[in-house]
């Protein structure tokens, strides 16, 4: 056995062990806990880079364990897995830093960081899963480990939000379970990438396989917050800002979207799915969700709520890209998985900064905040412009590919969807930017924190700046070898359209 084969397991274990150690630590050991957290995040990043090297050589390390007769847990690092794993591990590092700053002096940090790490461990499991069964296991584990984070504050509102979250995600989980179990009953264990196996099944039971496709997508669609399963996402906003970042950018919605990618490309195969007519309903739903999310975002007065509906809309860009038959659409969808993550995490960091530093929660309270917190506001502006899709921020790249992908797939009407959604995005972000930069300050801030820093504390500020910069760089240097775009192209070339 090659040493590289143990890398996927090592990636998973770094955050899992970190979680276990943190659970064992007494509440008061803040410094030690933070050190372990950061060390684990850095270690994971190193391991991911090592793994990237291996995957670039067209070598896909794999470990498996037979857990039930004929059924194995498989961890396998392929190019697509690395896309998601890379994104999560980068964002984990910054979210951890941010969370350490954000939760300073608040209770229950041991519990928080423990589940936080567990949550990232499950995300790693999701990205490295080598078959649907493994995916399902980590997908459910993600639900379990995020629940304590959502209800972290322990207030009535957060417990209610936790209940809503559970109803949606567990409901989606069992639908997914039934889909996975039915697929297994028909064809046995199908590792990702073995689309020939599925093709044979579709030949025999076309009706069943279409039903299973619907079950799988519906189950995954809950976490991806596709309409009508998006209801939990705005409700879960009561959680602390780092958790929102985790839900929206790093882990949860991404897990759903990533799962859909896996099902479409690695279980059914895009060509087969296209031929069977399974994709166009997905395109329709995604388009509708994009418009619906934007429309709802426009009506929100709470910053985080507006961002939440923006996520509903943005994640469906990914789904849209996946559902378009053709390499350009695929690239657009995959690259947006990364870009949306970077931009959304920036926005949430900034929203958290406003709330922590000045007590601002509503949009109308933002008047003149640009002068008080220029750096945070600059990062926020970058993220918002990227969401609208203005060049040179990363969002532009995604939309460009999605548009050309739609043309390639012969679905010209999708262009209209993209344009109108961009207009809506502009409509709900530009007024915010106007308030930040151009409106004068109205009276005192709701709840100002006294710090010796001009903007806000470094631990809150730096992660936001870094992710904002990254999303700018991803757009500016889209054509370089290291950019998310190149990686998405690599995946597309290597795996889907040989």
């Amino acid at each position: 056995m090659n040493w590289t084969n143990s890398l996927p397991l090592a990636v998973l274990m770094t955050s899992f062990l970190a979680a276990m150690i943190i659970f064992m630590l007494p509440e008061s050991r803040h410094r030690l806990r933070s050190s372990i957290n950061i060390a684990a995040a850095c270690l994971k990043l190193v391991l991911i880079i090592l793994l990237l090297q291996v995957v670039l050589r067209q070598d896909y390390p794999e470990v498996s364990l037979e857990v039930l007769p004929g059924l194995s847990l498989i961890l396998r690092a392929d190019a697509l897995a690395m896309l998601f794993a890379g994104l999560s591990s980068v964002l984990w590092l910054f979210t951890t830093l941010y969370a350490i700053g954000y939760l300073e002096n608040s209770p229950n940090r041991s519990r928080f960081f423990g589940y936080f790490s567990l949550c990232v461990a499950s995300t790693m499991g999701i990205s490295l899963a080598g078959n649907l069964f493994t995916f399902l296991i980590f997908y459910e584990l993600l639900t379990l480990s995020t629940y304590p984070l959502v209800v972290h504050r322990g207030t009535e509102a957060s417990l209610r939000a936790g209940r809503t979250y559970l109803i949606y995600t567990l409901g989606g989980g069992v639908v997914l379970l039934v889909g996975v179990a039915a697929l297994y009953a028909l064809g046995g264990d199908i590792p990702f990438g073995n689309t020939e196996q599925t093709a044979a099944l579709v030949g025999t039971w076309p009706g069943w396989m279409a039903l299973i496709f619907a079950l799988l997508i519906a189950g995954l669609g809950v976490k991806a917050a596709i309409f009508p399963f998006h209801g939990w996402l705005p409700t879960a906003m009561v959680a602390p800002a780092p958790v929102s970042a985790l839900l929206h950018a790093v882990a949860v919605v991404k897990a759903g979207a990533f799962g859909i990618v896996r099902v479409v490309y690695d279980i059914y195969g895009i060509e087969l799915a296209w031929q069977q007519g399974l994709l166009w309903p997905l395109t329709l739903i995604a388009s509708f969700t994009i418009l619906y999310g934007s429309w709802r975002a426009l009506q929100q007065v709470d910053i985080k709520k507006r961002l939440a509906f923006s996520t509903v809309s943005q994640v469906s860009y990914i789904i849209l890209g996946i559902s378009l038959f053709g390499p350009l659409g695929t690239i657009g969808g995959l690259v947006h998985l990364l870009h949306q993550g970077l931009m959304k995490v920036t926005l949430f960091f900034c929203a958290g900064n406003y709330a922590e530093t000045l007590g601002i929660h509503k949009i109308h309270e933002l008047d003149g905040v640009g002068k008080r917190m220029p750096l945070t506001s600059a990062a926020f502006t970058l993220g918002a412009l990227g969401m609208i899709g203005l060049p040179p921020v990363a969002g532009f790249i995604s939309k460009w590919y999605l548009g050309t992908g739609a043309l390639e797939a012969g679905m010209d009407w999708v262009i209209l969807v993209l344009i109108s959604s961009s207009l809506l995005n502009a409509a709900y972000f530009l007024p915010v930017l106007q308030r930040i930069w151009f409106n004068p300050q109205q009276g005192d801030w709701p709840d100002e924190m006294i710090t010796r820093w001009r903007d806000t504390t470094p631990l809150l500020l730096i992660p936001a700046l870094v992710t904002a910069t990254l999303s700018l760089l991803a757009g500016l240097f889209a054509s370089s070898v290291l950019s998310p775009l190149s990686w998405a192209e690599l995946i597309t070339l290597r795996e889907y359209l040989p």
Partner: protein, 488 residues
């Protein structure tokens, strides 16, 4: 060397001797003797498993009289799994009880505990229908005694209810055995299976046996005695009862069902058992959702979980061998996962009640901050009970799902799925209470001993690990033996 002939009788001798000695010894020696007994039990169980794995099922003729004249003990893969399971759960519960009970209470706890263990081992190994009756009665009396241990109003009421239900159940069973003997002239399971005559007498006998055993297993709607008994007993007792005692009658049911070919002859009874199971899942889950008393939630959860185990019966159909195999594996795995998870959950619940000093859910506010380890144990056990991955409960549910899909009985899929959601509802309800912040500080809480927290955690973690190591028990129960031959 002669000692090593077969470890089988030692699995009975040690607990019986333990019961005798712990009655007579002074307290200091009592605990030491128990510890020694537990260790030697573990050794004997492992030795016997080794033998069974190496050289197949073992038959042991008591007093050297071959069955059917004498009584034989029989150790096959299934029996071994149950022996190992009860060894693990009982020893951890015993460890817990050592800290939980005060010295003067322990005096009477140990003999009862040892009798309980002896009867369990007796039942797992028994191959004689009347011997099973005596074992069942020994088990009942020990269990009732343990329930009545607290000697207050609630536990007395519970124990009387329990005793009456159990007595009726065993009498029904004995009546069935009487008919079987009259029709076949033998009491031994093996020779019954060999000379099995399927006619009215056998049908009535089987009906009575199944009915009696269902009552003793607390199958819905005959479950009403269970929640007070399991919810009202002392914590280590609740854990033993829910994890092991109800499994005894279930185990007997399964043996009869498969070895005497009942599944082949009474398919409608199979479906009936499945329907009762579904009823148990929904009713038990619904009642668990409505309880205000922590341990009653856990007790009603047992009612619901028994329902899952019953789902294996309609899936053991004569026609489909694959589906039947899956159902058998899934059912047994479900039982094992439940034993571990429920014991862990009861012990964790007991710890929480020690912390708050109150039995109700309301008092749990803020507990997830104060006792994260215990909450974690409770949560892990809950994961397995809900059947969420990765856990033994999930693997079991997966197998049952596969079996229902394969045999085309899709309605059980619906039951399994809805049941999972219901159990998630009542478990997360408890969990939500522990997250509530009331603003009061944590120092009003008492603190359970570390060993008590660790035993709960060990059991819960084991129920999770079972999800990864399910192949071991599945291989064990698939070893050749009379049961496997009779399985479709």
């Amino acid at each position: 060397m002669s000692l090593m002939q077969s470890p089988m009788p030692w699995l009975l001798v040690i607990p019986l001797a333990g019961a005798t000695l712990t009655m007579l010894l002074p307290d200091r020696w009592r605990s030491a003797a128990s510890a020694l007994g537990i260790l030697s039990q573990l050794v004997a169980a492992l030795l016997l498993s080794y033998q069974v794995i190496q050289s197949g099922p073992q038959i042991y003729a008591m007093g050297n009289w071959q069955a059917p004249l004498g009584i034989a003990l029989r150790a096959d893969g299934l029996a071994m799994l149950f022996i190992l399971m009860s060894a693990l759960v009982s020893s951890l519960c015993a460890l817990y009880a050592q800290s939980y009970l005060k010295a003067e209470k322990r005096a009477n706890f140990w003999p009862l505990f040892w009798f309980l263990w002896a009867s369990l081992n007796g039942i797992w190994l028994a191959a004689d229908t009347f011997n099973l009756y005596v074992g069942l009665e020994l088990l009942t009396l020990a269990a009732v005694g343990l329930v009545a241990f607290a000697a207050d109003e609630r536990s007395l009421e519970a124990s009387i209810r329990y005793l009456y239900a159990a007595l009726l159940g065993s009498m029904g069973y004995l009546l069935g055995v009487a008919l079987l003997y009259g029709a076949h002239g033998t009491l031994a399971l093996d020779s019954l299976a060999e000379h099995w005559h399927w006619g009215p007498t056998s049908q009535v006998a089987v009906t009575l046996i199944v009915g009696g055993l269902l009552l003793k297993t607390a199958v819905f709607p005959l479950h009403t005695w269970l929640p007070p008994a399991h919810g009202g007993a002392l914590t280590p007792v609740s854990a033993l009862l829910s994890a092991l005692v109800i499994k005894a009658s279930f185990y007997m049911l399964l043996r009869f069902w498969i070895e005497l070919d009942i599944y082949r002859h009474l398919p409608s009874l199979s479906q009936l058992l499945g329907i009762l199971g579904a009823g148990a899942i929904f009713w038990g889950g619904w009642m668990a959702l409505r309880q205000q008393h922590l341990k009653w939630v856990v007790a009603y959860s047992t009612v619901a979980q028994i329902g899952y185990m019953l789902l294996m019966f309609p899936l053991l159909t004569a026609g489909q061998s694959d589906a039947s195999q899956l159902a058998y594996q899934g059912g047994i795995l479900m039982l094992l996962a439940h034993a571990l998870a429920k014991a862990g959950m009861f012990l964790a619940a007991g710890n929480l009640m020690i912390c708050t000093g109150k039995p109700d859910l309301q008092a749990l506010a803020g507990m997830s901050r104060y006792r994260p380890l215990t909450i974690f144990a409770f949560g892990l056990a809950g994961v397995s009970l809900m059947g969420l991955p990765p856990s033994g409960g999930f693997s079991a549910k997966w197998l049952l799902l596969q079996s229902s899909l394969l045999s085309g009985q899709w309605w059980w899929v619906v039951v399994l799925v809805l049941g999972s959601l219901l159990s998630a509802a009542y478990i997360f309800r408890v969990f939500a209470y522990t997250y509530r912040e009331t603003g009061e500080e944590g120092d009003r809480f008492a603190r359970p001993a570390l060993s008590m927290e660790l035993t709960a955690l060990t059991l819960s973690v084991a129920s999770i690990l079972l999800g990864f190591a399910a192949m071991l028990p599945l291989q064990l129960i698939s070893l050749p033996g009379p049961l496997m031959e009779a399985l479709p």
